[in-house]
């Protein structure tokens, strides 16, 4: 290096100035590209006389949706139809994630089992289900449901009031009554109580070393209080029982084969990945940790809760988050097997209104909201359980 301090650095050799130049170029490049695309799009829309804007959201949708969590009819607006789709995506993802975590954990532990047969089978399961495209699995399960199960008139009656046929799983549900409101309130109360109880128990344990049987007391709380609420509310027992009238069952609650096939496909597929995550997490905790915990006299439940899990979770949570997001994103394949999720409803909306840009934009925004909120929550959780450097 023969340049001295005082020597002026030529412009193209000065990293700071170059950085500014590069960034300027990037901005100009991206700006030009977006201008080009937007100008083209506007010109095309104008020329082809395609309407724009989101005013269609208020127009009457005029199509029916098979499964709705909120009341909806063809007379409602596109906006409401999309809300129905949104909730459908939400429910299938939520239930899917819960079941996936449970199944994935079982499989991950089974993979490490000392039982050769169980470990092998679990390994085979993981390999097979990971390596087959999810869409193919969905087609397979859906075909399985409608080809194997009988029609509603020959429905299998599993229990009194519970029927299984190619229209889905249909079962009785209690008729809504004031009493259930009390029960729900009582449940909320129980959860709040439990929260304070837990803090109190932790404080007491820290102060005196006495362990409070939190799990058992908690279980009692969340079962007994709602029961009490239900009883105080008049103990309603009226049930809406499904009955075969005309073509289908009326009354009760039904879970459609589309929903079940989607849920099953998503859970079986994602659980294979989660199992690998769980296995890696458990393996990451050294054997010595367990032995040390046992040697200071912790009971095995406490070893798992206080020593193994907190450490394993740190390894598990980040990849688990991305698997949860994958499941949510894959739920968009519902469109292929007829479950009315957000993408499916948005697709129908695009067809009927012809406003593709708005429709696809809505799909993307909705999934971004799902993704960003899930990762925000999991990041918060991950921080909470992360190693506190001392």
């Amino acid at each position: 290096m023969h340049s001295t301090q005082a020597e002026k650095v030529p412009f193209l050799r000065d990293p700071d100035k170059l950085a500014i130049l590069y960034q300027l170029l990037t901005v100009i490049g991206v700006g030009l590209l977006s201008y080009y695309l937007i100008a083209n799009t506007l010109a095309n829309l104008e020329r082809q006389n395609i309407s724009t804007g989101f005013s269609f959201l208020e127009r009457e949708a005029a199509f029916e949706i098979g499964e709705t969590l909120v009341t909806y009819s063809a007379a409602d607006s596109y906006g409401r139809a999309l809300l129905v789709g949104f909730l459908n995506t939400l429910i299938v993802s939520f239930i899917g994630i819960v079941l996936t975590v449970i199944l994935g954990t079982i499989l991950g532990i089974a993979r490490l089992s000392s039982n050769w047969l169980v470990a092998r089978l679990s390994a085979i399961y993981i390999e097979v289900f990971q390596d087959i495209p999810i869409l193919l699995q969905l087609f397979f399960w859906y075909a399985f449901f409608y080809e194997i199960l009988p029609g509603p008139r020959q429905a299998l009656s599993l229990l009194p009031g519970v029927f299984l046929c190619n229209r889905g799983l249909i079962f009785g549900v209690p008729v809504w009554h004031q009493g259930f409101q009390y029960a729900i309130l009582a449940l909320l109360l129980a959860v709040v109580l439990l929260f304070f109880l837990k803090r109190w128990a932790a404080a007491r344990q820290a102060a005196s070393g006495k362990i409070f049987p939190l799990f058992r007391v908690g279980l009692l709380l969340v079962t007994l209080l709602p029961l009490l609420g239900w009883w105080l509310g008049g103990a309603p027992t009226a049930m809406s029982v499904p009955e075969l009238t005309g073509f289908n069952f009326r009354g009760g609650l039904s879970i459609s084969p589309e929903f079940t096939a989607l849920l099953l496909g998503l859970v079986l597929y994602t659980a294979a990945f989660v199992a690998e995550v769980v296995r890696a997490g458990i393996q990451s905790v050294g054997k010595g940790q367990r032995e040390a915990a046992l040697s200071i006299g912790l009971r095995s439940g406490h070893v798992l809760n206080l020593v193994i899990l907190p450490q394993a979770l740190r390894v598990i949570v980040p990849p688990l988050t991305s698997q949860m997001l994958n499941l949510t994103k894959n739920s968009s394949l519902a469109v292929a097997i007829g479950y009315p999720d957000f993408v499916s409803v948005a697709g129908t909306t695009i067809n009927q209104t012809g406003q593709a840009i708005e429709g696809v934009a809505l799909i993307m925004v909705v999934y971004l909201i799902f993704s960003l909120s899930t990762s925000a929550f999991m990041n918060w959780y991950n921080k909470k359980i992360a190693i506190v450097e001392r």
Binding site: Q48, I50, S51, A74, A143, Y146, R167, G338, T348, Q352
Partner: protein
């Protein structure tokens, strides 16, 4: 943007089809590239579906071939793009295809909002219901509470929802985009009935394990004039597509078939002479060869031939002419004079 071909690397260029500016006129474009790109269904037996050897067959396919015959004197100078209900209009708008013959219903909003122009209807259809015989249903009014298999992406979803609303009945729709997948679910008993355009239902019944187990209900709940569509604003191209379809109808009316057309060339009837270009004028007016209509009928056939070959009573679809008969036989097929 014709230069795009030279800019992108060789491999990419092979994927990439750049067509000239559409403003110049689709006809010039099509002539320059030497073939017509037609958007078709791909899954619909009788209208557009490749056979086991991958050869495209169907009423919509023949309609597109008629246009190719008119423009190139060769019905095979055509390529097909299978499109879903969702992608069909965009494909036309963007210029990816030159003509859309994918059983699309002409409606006011499509004709205006979507930047399309519909031409002469090549099949008058209406939405109906297909039910398994063993259900014992004889009228659509008995379908209260039924599970209905619906093909999405068309006017079908709205029609059936409207119908059930008017009849104060409840329905439980099952919507699957893929025709084959939906048909499989229906045959397996997932739904009590299936709704779509009657012609499509006939096509679906034709592929049932035992077609005789299914019946079409008498109710037709909508008007579905299925017509080829072109981009809005290209009048010459619209005329060509329009009169290519009309030529097949006119030929049937004049009694000209692909078999007797060469004898008909000697006919002294001035209508036939004008039609076949023996006395010139029509071709020039359209910007085509004077033998354009001759080529259509010779290579593709008149409307009756096309209908009977693809969807008629002797095909698995077993469709009657019905609304699609000539006006002289009580149908709606009526061609303006070719002069």
């Amino acid at each position: 943007m014709r230069e795009l071909r030279h800019v992108v690397p060789a491999v990419v260029a092979a994927f990439c089809l750049t067509t000239g500016a559409a403003v110049a006129g689709t006809l010039d474009d099509v002539k320059a590239k030497g073939f017509i790109q037609a958007g078709v269904n791909g899954d619909l037996f009788g209208f557009a579906k490749p056979d086991e050897k991958g050869v495209w067959r169907g009423l919509d396919v023949d309609t597109a071939r008629a246009v190719a015959a008119a423009v190139f004197a060769d019905a095979d100078k055509i390529k097909y793009t299978p499109l879903t209900a969702k992608t069909r209009f965009t494909a036309l708008q963007s210029g990816e295809i030159d003509v859309l013959t994918r059983n699309a219903t002409q409606t006011l909003s499509r004709d205006t909002d979507l930047g399309l122009d519909f031409t002469q209807v090549n099949y008058y259809d209406g939405q109906g219901f297909l039910v398994p015989k063993q259900l014992g249903v004889t009228s659509a009014t008995q379908l209260d509470g039924a599970s209905v298999c619906v093909l999405p992406g068309t006017t079908t979803e709205q029609n059936v929802a409207d119908y059930f609303r008017v009849q104060k009945m409840k329905m439980n729709p099952v919507v699957i985009e893929n025709t084959a997948e939906l048909a499989k679910a229906f045959f397996a008993g997932r739904c009590d009935c299936m709704t779509s355009d009657a012609s499509q239902l006939a096509g679906i019944r034709a592929v049932a394990p035992t077609p005789a187990d299914y019946v079409l209900l008498p109710e037709i709940i909508s008007k579905e004039p299925l017509a080829p569509a072109v981009r809005h604003g290209d009048n010459q191209w619209k005329d060509i597509v329009n009169y290519s379809v009309l030529a097949m109808i006119e030929a049937e009316e004049l009694g000209i078939t692909s078999a007797n057309i060469d004898e008909m060339m000697a006919s002294t009837d001035p209508k036939i002479q004008r039609f076949l270009g023996v006395s010139p004028g029509n071709g020039k007016a359209l910007g085509l060869d004077e033998k354009w209509a001759y080529n259509i009928i010779k290579q593709v056939g008149n409307y009756a031939e096309v209908f009977e070959r693809n969807v008629g009573v002797k095909t698995p679809l077993m469709l009657e002419r019905g609304l699609n008969a000539l006006w002289t036989n009580g149908g709606l097929m009526y061609s303006p004079p070719f002069k």
